[in-house]
């Protein structure tokens, strides 16, 4: 469902002159699978997911989502994905219902089906009490629920979550994680980025550890702990990063 090959993204930057956010990243994700992108802040996770959601254009490499090239068919890709991050805010001057309805309409869902779908979502996510609350009056948890409803209103086959739990309290974060798990059970193809190890262990089938725009390791959790002889994911993470840093220093010095 998602195929990424040698994806590279460079930004111009005043302070350093230029910055490679993503450097030849390759991976793929299957339906019914949660693929975890694990890395510290600034590793290139958000850039990668923004390219997958067609908001950014790749500098080099290709990415296919649900069979469409993100560079050439952005509209088709956008119609088939649900994207949620802590950057995707909700409108202050719209109620929960209006917000989900608006995006449902933009996705071109027929009006009658849309109303049923929203009613269903509001039941499932227990949002009926905030139906007519304006975005500006909502708590973070409520906003996050609206965001989830907005992400899945058109029932997309591919879901992209970019650190969906960052900045949330434990209760809300748990709800979000549960919701994502239930989406996986519906057979969705899910890509999930985070820097929280426990979420990865709980959710993901396969993970990629990404650092400075490069994938350091990729595979299922078992595969990785076998390969690197390290059962603890957190330890493995630090170990890989240290190795990479040492490698970099070696290349610079010689």
């Amino acid at each position: 469902m998602i195929t990424v090959e040698r994806l590279t993204k460079r930004f111009a930057d005043i302070q350093t002159g230029g910055f490679t956010a993503l450097d030849g990243v390759t991976f793929d994700v299957q339906p019914g699978e949660i693929f975890g992108l694990l890395g510290p802040n600034g590793a290139g996770k958000t850039t990668c997911l923004r390219i997958l959601s067609t908001v950014l254009r790749p500098t080099a490499g290709t990415a296919f989502v649900a069979g469409y090239d993100v560079a050439t068919h952005p509209s088709e890709v956008r119609a088939r994905i649900g994207f949620m991050s802590n950057n995707t805010g909700i409108y202050d001057r719209m109620t929960a219902w209006e917000m989900v309805e608006y995006f449902g309409r933009l996705y071109g869902i027929p009006e009658e089906a849309l109303q049923d779908r929203i009613a269903h979502l509001f039941d499932r996510l227990q949002m009926n009490n905030i139906r007519d609350v304006l975005g500006s009056k909502m708590s973070t948890g409520m906003k996050q629920k609206v965001s989830i409803a907005r992400t899945i209103v058109h029932d997309p086959p591919v879901l992209i979550f970019d650190e969906p739990t960052s900045g949330l309290d434990v209760l809300v974060a748990r709800n979000v994680v549960d919701e994502i798990r239930s989406l996986r059970e519906q057979g969705k193809c899910i890509i999930y980025s985070t820097h929280i190890m426990r979420e990865v262990e709980k959710l993901c089938h396969r993970i990629a550890i990404i650092y400075r725009g490069q994938i350091l390791a990729i595979g299922s959790i078992e595969e990785l702990s076998d390969r690197y002889k390290q059962p603890d994911m957190e330890e493995l993470f630090f170990q890989l990063i240290d190795e990479h840093e040492a490698e970099l220093r070696a290349t610079v010095s010689c």
């Binding site: 460079r10 950014l56 001057r93 996705y107």
Partner: protein
């Protein structure tokens, strides 16, 4: 249906108008739920004008309650015809009788015993009179010196004497001015002691004139003195009123004298013409509206667009909903269009609400004023007729759309609402400048103005509102005004859409701006060719230098011209022109090239173009020059006349007496090299970095046009700029452009010089004809020139042949690598 139409229609239908409508409706709802926007758009205009009206009424009330102080010394010396009654001037002498209360008179005449005694009034009076008394001596001395001075000048006495009197006058002025300022008196009248007797004598002498010769009537008696301070507004107003009173009082005195001497009272006014004012009431009000409405419409269309645009662009980024919107299936064009329509709706409604609020308030105020017995200058200020109001709406559409698109582009560029707000000031300043220019009474719509953004609609509207009948000549202007305005709006909209398509604009992080870092970045991260912004900066530098040098050039010219013969003057001007070309056009571009780029060869396209291209570039001017002359002549009606001084200077410089080689150096060689280095070199290669060759050529030609200052030359230069730009882009060399530029300018010089020399017979008659005092080419020659021009242009602008081993062909536009164009980073990371 032809192919082009098909593409446009396909684009039209590919766009989901459903999405545009959805976004539009949401944005409108969102704005309507925003208190600030509602306040700006609806509440403010509805309250502002009535409140301003109330304020004005109150201000006038406050002002009218403040009478000014007039002190009369020697009041008992006034003749019997009463000038003053009690503490006021007599009501009879005022044209508007209510003004009598605006002056309060304190005179040294004894107060009648029946006046009620008021302690404070008495104190004020004695204080004022005391300070007036102190000035009396100074005043009489000043009057004396002034009479002496006049006499001395008349009799042509020695300079020393005149100077002595003048300095005496000066030394008196200072204490007198200080005393007057400290006295709280606005006007002081000093009546000389024997004034009454002198007037009485005059009267009797006049009455007895029948028996005596008129020469015996003596007029040289001391006159009253009226003192004011014209630097003090209050004093000026009081003085004007006092003068009016004294004048009408004087006329009445004169009438009495005439009557007493048996002469007709109308003797002094034998002409007294009858005044007829043809202005109908509706014309008066039309004039008022034509001054107010266009400027207000422009300013309000801008303000009405600005705040919603900032909220929809930068605000959306700031609140983090931009990304939410970008990942929905709507395309960026659809998003921008939806937002654009919203902004336009608010811009138009703000403007209309403001106009109607102003209109109704104005009308109401005018009717209040006329009911109050005050004769109003504006009559009843009838609202403009329906047709004029229709025109207001018609003109509002292009204005609102232009401002909406511009504001949206700016707002999208801004990182935050705060940054967005900063862009309002420059936008408002430019617009205000244009509207101030338009509201000047001397400016009416002309062909040239009709194609200038903002000015065209504003001037046309002004004309339409002013004319009360049908204005057929103005309707004709509606076509160019509307067409160009729509064109400008589309350009601005395209820019806004382009802004929305740029990820570096959409995801600009709020980075710390550090001027040192930025300089480092400029000098460290140099690339082969300049960036778009650097090219724009280079152009601004050139314009600014030209502007700054104007004054010093003028000074240098005038200074150097003192005592220089006319021929040498031309020479001098030519020299200055040469310096200007080299110092102000070529040098900035070259310096920036050296400092900001790594490859001078690429930046300035220093590459051998091949003999065939060079040959074509040398031939093309011969074909284009006749055509541009015809074009210039046929467009003469369109452009405003150049200032006369300029034509004079040009004539001087191109006069036959100058050596031809020098003129060619200054007008052909120097511009060919300097202007090409700047405009086709640095600026064009910078603009080309946008990845859009057409845009780069258009912008560089526009820049090239603008430095030519005079509208007609701007137009010509911009057109040639397109040819030069295409030449440079296609040959990837500056040399054909320099060759073309040199030959073209030389031809222009020769054309100007030969004007009178070409004979109307023989071979010349085959080529040229004289018309309207200008040398023109024969039509047959023009046709040939057109054909040749097409052929040569085709040859010059076709794509270069690919030669193995040469530079690679330019990458197609829109490729990501070109957009970011930073290939150095790859080296740094690996």
């Amino acid at each position: 249906m032809d192919f082009g139409k098909k593409i446009v229609l396909q684009m039209w239908f590919n766009m989901s108008w459903r999405n545009v409508k959805l976004i539009f409706l949401r944005e409108v709802l969102d704005q309507l739920r925003d208190r600030r926007t509602l306040f700006m758009v609806a509440v403010l205009p509805l309250l502002l004008y009535p409140l301003m009206g109330i304020g004005m009424f109150q201000m006038t009330a406050i002002f009218s309650e403040q009478p000014r102080t007039v002190v009369i010394l020697g009041a008992e010396n006034l003749p019997d015809l009463a000038l003053v009654q009690g503490d006021k001037f007599s009501r009879t002498w005022f044209r508007i009788s209510t003004e009598v209360d605006k002056l309060r008179v304190y005179s040294d005449a004894p107060i009648p015993s029946d006046t009620p005694h008021d302690e404070t009034a008495v104190a004020t009076r004695s204080k004022l009179l005391a300070s007036a008394e102190q000035m009396r001596d100074l005043i009489s001395r000043r009057v004396q010196i002034e009479t002496d001075l006049e006499k001395a000048r008349e009799e042509k006495r020695s300079v020393q004497e005149v100077l002595r009197l003048e300095s005496a006058l000066q030394s008196l002025n200072e204490p007198l001015g200080k005393a007057f300022h400290d006295s709280d008196i606005q006007v002081l009248i000093v009546v000389p002691p024997d004034f009454r007797q002198n007037l009485e004598r005059l009267r009797t002498e006049l009455a007895q004139r029948g028996s005596a010769a008129s020469s015996e009537v003596k007029f040289d008696y001391p006159r009253p003195v009226v003192v004011q301070n014209s630097a003090d507004e209050k004093s000026v107003i009081a003085h004007n009123r006092v003068v009016e009173v004294i004048n009408s009082w004087e006329r009445a005195l004169l009438r009495n004298y005439l009557r007493d001497s048996g002469l007709p009272e109308h003797l002094p006014t034998p002409v007294n013409p009858t005044a007829i004012d043809l202005a109908a009431a509706d014309q008066v009000s039309a004039n008022v509206w034509s001054k107010l409405f266009p400027s207000l419409l422009v300013i309000m269309a801008l303000t009405g667009a600005f705040y919603p645009a900032v909220d929809l662009g930068a605000g959306e980024k700031e609140r983090g909903t931009m990304e939410t919107l970008l990942i929905c299936p709507a395309t960026r064009t659809e998003i921008v269009l939806g937002k654009f329509l919203t902004v336009m709706l608010f811009s138009a409604s703000t403007a209309l609400l403001n106009l109607s609020s102003l209109g109704f308030t104005g009308k109401y105020m005018a009717s209040l004023a006329s009911n109050g017995g005050v004769s109003s200058k504006f009559g009843d200020l009838a609202l403009p007729p329906v047709t004029s109001l229709m025109w207001v709406i018609v003109m509002l559409i292009p204005l609102a759309s232009l401002f909406s698109a511009l504001c949206l582009a700016f707002a999208t560029f801004a990182r935050s609402s705060k940054e967005g707000q900063y862009y309002l000031t420059p936008l408002l300043m430019v617009t205000m400048g244009l509207t101030v220019f338009c509201s000047s009474p001397a400016i009416d719509i002309e062909p040239f103005y009709s194609v200038i953004p903002v000015m065209g609609p504003a001037l046309l509207l002004k004309g339409l509102l002013k004319s009360t009948g049908p204005a057929t000549d103005l309707y004709l202007y509606a076509i160019p005004v509307l067409l160009t305005s729509i064109g400008y709006s589309l350009m601005a909209l395209w820019w806004a859409i382009d802004q929305f398509g740029r990820e570096e604009v959409l995801f600009r992080e709020a980075e710390r701006f550090d001027i040192r870092m930025w300089f480092k970045h400029l000098l460290r991260d140099k690339e082969p060719t300049p960036s778009f912004a650097e090219a724009g900066f280079c152009f601004l530098m050139i314009i600014l230098l030209q502007f700054l040098s104007m004054k010093s050039m003028q000074g240098a010219m005038q200074g150097a011209m003192q005592g220089v013969a006319a021929d040498d003057r031309g020479l001098l001007q030519i020299r200055l022109l040469l310096i200007q070309q080299i110092a102000l056009i070529a040098t900035p571009a070259l310096m920036m090239g050296v400092m900001l780029t790594t490859s001078l060869r690429k930046t300035f396209a220093l590459r051998w173009p091949g003999f065939s291209r060079l040959g074509c570039a040398l031939l093309l001017p011969f074909a284009l020059h006749p055509l541009t002359i015809e074009l210039a002549v046929s467009l003469q009606w369109f452009f405003p006349k150049p200032p006369p001084g300029l034509a004079e200077a040009l004539k001087l410089m191109s006069s036959d007496s100058q050596p031809l080689w020098l003129v060619i150096m200054a007008f052909a060689a120097a511009p060919a090299i300097c202007e090409e280095i700047a405009f086709r070199g640095f600026i064009l290669s910078g603009f080309s970095r946008s990845g859009k060759v057409g845009l780069a050529v258009a912008l560089s030609s526009l820049a090239f046009g603008i430095i030519h200052m005079i509208p007609q030359q701007v137009f010509n230069a911009a057109l040639l700029g397109v040819v030069l730009g295409m030449m440079c882009v296609r040959s990837r060399s500056l040399i054909p452009g320099i060759a073309f530029h040199f030959v073209y300018n030389t031809l222009a010089i020769l054309h100007g010089r030969m004007g009178d020399r070409v004979l109307d017979d023989g071979i010349w008659a085959w080529l040229f004809r004289h018309q309207d005092g200008m040398l023109r080419y024969q039509p047959a020659l023009l046709c040939l020139a057109a054909l040749a021009a097409i052929g040569l242009l085709h040859r010059l602008t076709r794509h270069p042949e690919f030669v193995p081993g040469s530079e690679p062909a330019p990458k197609p536009a829109g490729e990501p690598g070109v957009l970011l164009g930073n290939n150095r980073t790859a080296v740094r990371v690996t």
